[in-house]
Assembly symmetry: D5
Amino acid sequence: MLFQVEMTVKLPTDMPTEQADKIKATEKSYSQDLQRQGKWRHLWRVAGSYSNVSIFDAEDNAELQELVSNLPLFPYMEINVKPLCRHPSSVREDDS
Amino acid sequence: MLFQVEMTVKLPTDMPTEQADKIKATEKSYSQDLQRQGKWRHLWRVAGSYSNVSIFDAEDNAELQELVSNLPLFPYMEINVKPLCRHPSSVREDDS
Amino acid sequence: MLFQVEMTVKLPTDMPTEQADKIKATEKSYSQDLQRQGKWRHLWRVAGSYSNVSIFDAEDNAELQELVSNLPLFPYMEINVKPLCRHPSSVREDDS
Amino acid sequence: MLFQVEMTVKLPTDMPTEQADKIKATEKSYSQDLQRQGKWRHLWRVAGSYSNVSIFDAEDNAELQELVSNLPLFPYMEINVKPLCRHPSSVREDDS
Amino acid sequence: MLFQVEMTVKLPTDMPTEQADKIKATEKSYSQDLQRQGKWRHLWRVAGSYSNVSIFDAEDNAELQELVSNLPLFPYMEINVKPLCRHPSSVREDDS
Amino acid sequence: MLFQVEMTVKLPTDMPTEQADKIKATEKSYSQDLQRQGKWRHLWRVAGSYSNVSIFDAEDNAELQELVSNLPLFPYMEINVKPLCRHPSSVREDDS
Amino acid sequence: MLFQVEMTVKLPTDMPTEQADKIKATEKSYSQDLQRQGKWRHLWRVAGSYSNVSIFDAEDNAELQELVSNLPLFPYMEINVKPLCRHPSSVREDDS
Amino acid sequence: MLFQVEMTVKLPTDMPTEQADKIKATEKSYSQDLQRQGKWRHLWRVAGSYSNVSIFDAEDNAELQELVSNLPLFPYMEINVKPLCRHPSSVREDDS
Amino acid sequence: MLFQVEMTVKLPTDMPTEQADKIKATEKSYSQDLQRQGKWRHLWRVAGSYSNVSIFDAEDNAELQELVSNLPLFPYMEINVKPLCRHPSSVREDDS
Amino acid sequence: MLFQVEMTVKLPTDMPTEQADKIKATEKSYSQDLQRQGKWRHLWRVAGSYSNVSIFDAEDNAELQELVSNLPLFPYMEINVKPLCRHPSSVREDDS
């Protein structure tokens, strides 16, 4: 089941660089694990921003909550979720 | 080059059914042509709405404008565009 | 799987009373059928408004879309959807 | 008398973990007491967020204020209240 | 139990004067009846607008819904409701 | 001359309790003095919030500014003012 | 007593030119009368818009309501009012 | 003196095609005249919309108002104006 | 050339009183100099707020930027600018 | 390919002057390099603000992201991006 998740990172500007780097590295690793498992199906940067547009594939709302709330950057992001489903005009069989 | 396009359809509630059906059929055909050409890469319904989330793959901004402004439902939609690019944490080679 | 759905009815003020009454009667019947099936778990009026707060229980996002988009008042409503899941502090076993 | 209460937790990102954990534990205990008393009738997590949707059952507006303003997380939350009442299409006898 | 109700009238600009006058007269009569019963405790015009700020005194949320939704201008108004209760610093005994 | 004033208190979450208590006590005393003088005619808590809805009775705009800007909590509040006047449908002689 | 009033004209695009011209002529005459009386102290066009910024000088809120609600364009305008008073840094004696 | 002007065209969906085409042709001619005079310095389409971003070069605010309010599409557009001036980091001599 | 400038002061609540007083005194002096030069034509307090409504008379956009960005409180204010020009219904010769 | 980029600088008010000056100097140098390369085609100050309106000329969305995210002030700015393309009424050959 697909969800569009938009995330905007708002790190405190006074966070020490080392701490920020560490969180970002953990986030990257966590994100790539989920991508390889197929849970985080798409991940795009919004050009000119510190935001991304993502498509998650979760079993249900509860799994989405687990995936998103465990993001290392979760406390520092504004997150917007939209539940998705197959569009009647879609021609792709593997896209819902 | 990818763009996220969100569209919300707002047909006038007094549009005759026949006219609305005709526009929707033309829209569906136009959309499926673009999908088959690879220009309209993803098309999802936002659950519980008359909105979709789409990913377009256009040569440049000018082609995006051409693709979107020729949508038969264009005069009846609220449309929001975000330019996308590869995310540094993405693991998919074919997704930017 | 639960979803909170908020609906605000915006009937055109020039819709003939007979037509409005007919749509409302069909809506009521449709709503009560879904409630009896357990698909529409809760339905409350927001006091002082023509809005409701509802909790739907759907198999997945696709079923939610089917349930909501078939509402007779669907073309006349502003609708907002939030996916819900069990809260870690909830004490009710039957509420997720 | 029912109220929908939506709460979004915004803990300061520099709050010490120990302090945050203590407030959350007190909040959980407070919340579960109210749930068991029937004052906090429903509590759901909004998937992909640090927000909840709740239904409170209070004697009147004054009791709602007392219940909500005593939440241990009250100083750290954005809270939105909507007074609810029975919907004329509701089929549930115990839901208003 | 008190509620603040803000109402902004948005009559269609093409409504015939006679029809508008009739609705306004019915509204005035309805409003004055509720004021005399003590249900509509205060009614003020917001200066420079076609809006009012009102304080209703209703038994509960359900009665508020009944009072407000029966306003003759109800289909033509934007309405915002806030539940009120006694403020701990208030010195008036008769104001909650 | 009446004004509706809505105030939402946003104390910094790291303000020492003692300091906050002192400001609140001064605010209460200041508020009750104005209420007894008839300058602060009504004061209600918005249920489920740290906000109030107030009705001030001031000689003119200048006095309103003086009354509001001297509130001990003034630097910590979001404040919204609406000038009020008698509503043509009001039946109360003492309410404008 | 001064008030800032911002007005944005939104005439229906299908209003017959003759009718629109007549309302505008009446508005102009009404406006110039109030300006000559000193009630409408300043009137500026916001460049690139069909909006104005005005300063009214009224006895009280009630007179402001009378002046504004009698504008011939009143039913076709979005209007925003702010009560003004002397600024402690102002050097003009005649400007409050 | 430069101004950024953003315009979004909102033609009524029931305007006859012939009438719309005529207005658009007049608009195009008017726009190209101003561009050739150097008054309308830049004109870009916002990709995926019926909006443009423009840079006007006007003598003063009054001329900007004259240029913009005479646009044939003026009654059908949402328009936003920002006054511009030379940026201290700009390296272009001819761009302010 | 006139501009309406609205300013809302948002001093950090933890700024030392002495520092705040010093900035405010410099601001007052700067403001009164500009008023005496005729650059800052009007200055009003918005009643019940820490905001002002001002009318500036500047040679052009560049001078407006210079006048406003040199305000001692500039880093602590939300500022909104609207370019103004003579209104066709204005009767004042000296007001544009 | 052109993009409109609007940037509003929000430096923390407690950033030491020396640090702020250093970031601004680096920003200026970075900006002027990009301008000389033709990547940053226009740069204007919005009068009365700490904002700019810019036109970037980038190969694609990815290059835009690289140019913008490397701005020394990037962590301290609110940034809004709009993809642009040639307008059918434009008369300039070199402006798309």
